[in-house]
Amino acid sequence: MESNKISIVVLSDKREQLQMAAMMASVGAVSGNEVLVFLSMNSLRYFVKGADEQAPCEGPVGELMAQKNVPPFKILFEQAVTLGEAKIHPCSMAMDVLAIEPEGLEDYIGEPMGLTLFLDESKGGQVWSF
């Protein structure tokens, strides 16, 4: 099976953006691709353990997704790790700004990562930003 490297930068706190990023991460990972997710800026707070805040919608599709049986983005990110061996890392800068400790994040999230390492890890592959 052909393997590609897919790096996904997640910055938004909007439902549609988070959902699309999670879909790409999960489907990409279970299809044999090497998936790396970098969580930063406004997305990171959703991955704090116990966070139950609902992501706001950008438009009507987000509102419809909230009403229908669309898999929640956090479940899809977790499945990307558990079923597809994706790696998900929080941005070390965002961790510092938000004063979040690594153990405060969901268990499937890896250690904080700096931009230098992320740029190196994503070299030669696809990079997507949400």
Binding site: M1, E2, M23, S26, V27, V30, S31, G32, M65, K68, N69, V70, P71, L76, Q79, L83, G84
Partner: protein, 76 residues
């Protein structure tokens, strides 16, 4: 003797049926057949593509009253 498992993913949207299949396919033996029931048209297209990519056998798909019956065999 090969077993046959049915995954009822009706009502779930993409990529829910695919992710349910992937969770289940790890639990069945090589040679076992799985039938996924999905009301999501996108998944009816996406699941055969995934099977082709990862190397499981696609046995066919039919639509009946808005539900796709997608059959496959675990090959490895």
């Amino acid at each position: 003797m090969a077993e046959k498992k049915i995954i009822d993913a009706r009502g779930s949207f993409c990529p829910g049926p695919l992710m349910e299949l992937i969770g289940a396919i790890k639990m069945v033996a090589i040679g076992d057949e799985i039938e996924v029931l999905s009301s999501d048209r996108g998944s009816a297209n996406d699941i055969p593509e995934w099977l082709k990519k990862v190397g499981h056998e696609f046995l066919g798909s039919r639509e009946e009253a808005g539900v796709w019956h997608i059959k496959l065999k675990r090959s490895k």
